[in-house]
């Protein structure tokens, strides 16, 4: 018994150390965002800075209207993108999971094919801008993310075909339920773990997406938060490395560059860190079921 307890303690200590190691960089990041710019240059990053300063957040606060707008855009595309993405993926995955579906193998291959090959950047860009005229619209931030998730479709399909017994579907059919009713009254409620998992993945990918914004958006009022932060960061870096004429260099000198970077990272991740715990319980379950049995 005593031995067991010792083991327990040892494992606990190990795990505590591990989680501390995971938390440490984040804590350092957090502290650095509150450190005075001059003391970062002088002493480097530390958990206990000699001088605290809110200059970085002050700088970002000055851009508050742009930031709030960008936040709004991100929240909107994340919500819409996740919802529509889940809908499309599960609607495609469900027939693929049904053994009585004609040309099932071929359709599954088509989905699988998109995982391996794509058109490349320039043709993709031309299709979205010249054919669908999505440049500088919110759709450009949502649609490309919806159509490139064959991996999610296959994950959901595996879940459907392994975890939903065919007899349940058949019995519902005998009771007179239509295909749609079966799908949303029986299949979807039984698939909550995988839906939550895919939902979380979609949420994270929409939240973190800056690349679509980078190529499709030139209108500043449509920048999402990650896109905006990425741009601000590179602009700051460029200003730092090049001395520019006019009043640009004077403007650059007033930006607390090191701490602003950290503050941006904090602002970018906080919301996603807040929602993560609510999804997590489904996350582990959904992922293992989808992967192991599939």
């Amino acid at each position: 018994m005593k031995n067991n307890q010792m083991n327990q303690t040892a494992v606990h200590i190990l795990l505590i150390l591990l989680s501390a190691a995971c938390l440490f960089p984040f804590l350092l990041l957090f502290m650095a965002s509150f450190t005075d710019e001059q003391s970062i240059v002088k002493d480097g990053y530390t958990l206990f800075p000699s001088r605290l300063s809110f200059a970085a957040y002050d700088y970002l606060w000055n851009q508050a209207s742009t930031m709030t707008r960008a936040y709004g855009i991100t929240i909107f595309i994340t919500a819409v993108g996740t919802f529509v993405g889940l809908l499309i993926s599960s609607l495609l995955a469900y027939p693929l999971s049904r053994k009585d579906m004609p040309v099932r193998g071929f359709l599954a291959f088509v989905v699988f094919f998109t995982l391996l090959f794509n058109g490349g950047l320039v043709p993709t860009y031309l299709v979205y801008t010249e054919l669908f005229h999505m440049k500088n619209s919110l759709l450009a931030l949502i649609v490309p993310g919806l159509l490139t998730n064959g991996f999610f479709v296959l994950l959901i399909r595996s879940f459907f075909s392994t975890s939903i017994p065919v007899p349940i579907i058949e019995s519902a059919y005998i009771d007179g339920a239509s295909e749609f009713k079966i799908f949303y009254r029986i299949v979807l409620p039984l698939s909550l773990p995988i839906l939550a998992t895919i939902g979380l993945m979609l949420t994270i990918s929409y939240w973190n997406d800056w690349f679509n914004g980078l190529i499709y958006i030139t209108e500043p009022k449509l920048f999402s938060i990650q896109n905006l932060l990425n741009r601000m960061l590179s602009n700051i870096q460029f200003l730092q490395q090049n001395s520019l004429g006019g009043n640009a260099s004077a403007a650059a000198a007033t930006i607390p560059m090191n701490s602003v970077r950290m503050a941006m990272a904090v602002i970018g991740i906080v919301p996603i860190v807040c929602i993560y715990p609510f999804f997590q319980k489904y996350f582990v379950k959904g992922l293992t079921i989808g992967a192991v049995k599939g």
Partner: protein
């Protein structure tokens, strides 16, 4: 079962169709909005058009719309066109410009640069030759700059871009903290060459223990590079370079020249004596922020008139400069930043008229460069301009990119006659014989990639003094193995062809 599936399939189809229809309608259709009459002579200005101008952006664009409206008011009257400004952040520049030019979106004026694929844009036929348009609609442009610079952007004898009026030459020297220079009575006039700086560094090292005598402003402005830049024209990337004073258009391996060896030997000597920051080769901190934080005395830099004042703002301290060289115009000095008209332009004639205004119309230049008077700047009694008291920064433009900057108001703290000084400075420069040559690296892509890897491994180390110059042999050996000779041969071939085309 099939029947039931049919129903389901219909539902899915309907949703898919709906989403596609939505996306098709939702687009802004912006690319078609300004389609004008490309064929009909724009000079008649019969039909109002919208001209889109894309430029590199780093700053604040909150009040962009207001500035754009003010500019459009003037252009509407003068050339019957409105202007749409399209700032593209430097983060997205390469990507978005590539895509813009690959597609068919309307774009009338574009900032181009030999550092950002100018030669390949011309090779891909994405920019149009400007000679005829300049002769017809852009007559005011030629007089605003040195003729050599104006002609310094030609490819195959044709002009594809017009340089902005800016500092097209650079001199090289040392920038130092004024308070320390005064404190130790350092006589700047006694400093005649880079070697003379040794005694200054010694003073700082002995008497100011917390302060590093010499740092690098960025890892591309290495200690040695500032010393050899007056002698060596990098011809773009430095893989195959030319000695400026030889005047012979011969491409050589710069890492094998006496000038290069002398420069890195000097850097090494300073590094070993402890004058140079120990981690100069790797630090991400700029010289500006190190000086600002009180950690450094100064840095070597390329300069121009008014450089001390400009960097004093960036460093948050008053700085003084010791200049050691004559101004030099390198091969890329003219085509470093230009305005071009892309093939996509629906109204090239009108675009050229707008370009002409950017070089001749004071009001437009001031609006574009500095914003709206009273809102973004106010005039001082001496003619310089400053930010209005208590105003938040609403508009920031990087004026060196575009147009005739000499027409723009000068910011407080910079000498009011800066542009006269600049003109003298530019004209007095030593012009590289290869001025205007741009290297198209595509035939030796593999070699360039391999050589760049070797370059990244050794260059900053050697040039900041961190590495022993004895490693130069090893460096050159690896460069040879990476195919430097083939790059040099290709560059020589292109340079000869360029010289022949321009001689006509």
């Amino acid at each position: 079962m099939n029947k039931h599936f049919g129903k389901f399939g219909w539902g899915t189809g309907a949703i898919l169709a709906l989403s596609l229809a939505l996306s098709a309608c939702g687009g802004s259709n912006g690319s078609n909005a300004s389609a004008g009459t490309a064929g009909a002579a724009g000079s008649s200005a019969s039909k109002p058009v919208e001209l889109t101008m894309a430029y590199m952006n780093f700053g604040t664009t909150t009040d962009l719309q207001a500035v754009q409206d003010e500019i459009s008011k003037i252009t509407k009257e003068k050339i019957n066109a409105t202007v749409k400004l399209m700032p593209i952040d430097v983060a997205a520049w390469q990507q978005q410009v590539n895509l813009l030019l690959a597609g068919n979106e309307n774009l009338d004026l574009l900032v181009t640069s030999s550092f950002y694929n100018y030669s390949s844009q011309v090779a891909k036929n994405q920019l149009i030759p400007l000679d005829d348009l300049l002769a017809q609609y852009g007559t005011g442009i030629k007089d605003t700059m040195n003729e050599k610079i104006y002609n310094g952007t030609k490819i195959d004898g044709k002009i594809y871009g017009v340089p902005s009026v800016r500092d097209t030459a650079a001199d090289y020297g040392m920038l130092m903290r004024k308070d320390l220079v005064d404190k130790y009575g350092i006589d700047l006039n006694s400093l005649q060459s880079f070697e003379d700086l040794g005694s200054v560094f010694q003073t700082i090292k002995d008497k100011e223990p917390g302060i590093i005598p010499l740092v690098q402003n960025t890892t591309s402005q290495t200690v040695a590079s500032i010393m050899y830049n007056k002698d060596i024209d990098l011809l773009g990337d430095g893989l195959g370079a030319m000695l400026i004073n030889k005047n012979d258009l011969k491409v050589v391996n710069m890492f094998d020249t006496r000038e290069y060896k002398d420069a890195i030997a000097q850097a090494r000597k300073w590094y070993e004596t402890g004058y140079i920051m120990q981690d100069a080769a790797t630090t991400q901190e700029s010289g500006n922020s190190l000086v600002k934080a009180g950690k450094a005395f100064g840095y070597l830099s390329n300069m121009k008139p008014g450089f001390e004042q400009q960097d004093s703002k960036a460093d948050g301290r008053e700085m003084v400069a010791a200049r050691f060289t004559q101004p030099v115009t390198q091969s890329t000095s003219a085509n470093g930043f230009m305005l071009s008209i892309p093939r996509n332009s629906r109204n090239p004639e009108r675009a050229m008229q707008l370009m002409n205004l950017l070089y001749t119309d004071k009001d437009i230049v001031n609006l574009l460069d500095n914003g709206i008077e009273g809102k973004h700047y106010v005039k001082n009694a001496d003619g310089t301009i400053k930010m209005p008291d208590g105003a938040a920064q609403g508009y920031l433009f990087n004026q060196w990119e575009v147009g005739n900057n000499a027409l723009a108001g000068v910011w407080e703290g910079t000498p009011a006659d800066i542009w006269e000084q600049m003109k003298k400075f530019n004209d007095s420069a030593i012009f590289s014989k290869a001025l205007g040559f741009t290297f198209d690296a595509s035939p030796v892509k593999t070699e360039v990639a391999a050589a760049t890897n070797v370059l990244n491994q050794y260059k900053v180390g050697l040039e900041s003094g961190t590495l022993d110059p004895a490693l130069l042999t090893e460096f050159n050996g690896k460069m040879k193995a990476a195919g430097l000779d083939r790059i040099i041969a290709e560059k020589q071939k292109q340079l000869d062809a360029w010289a022949a085309a321009n001689a006509q």
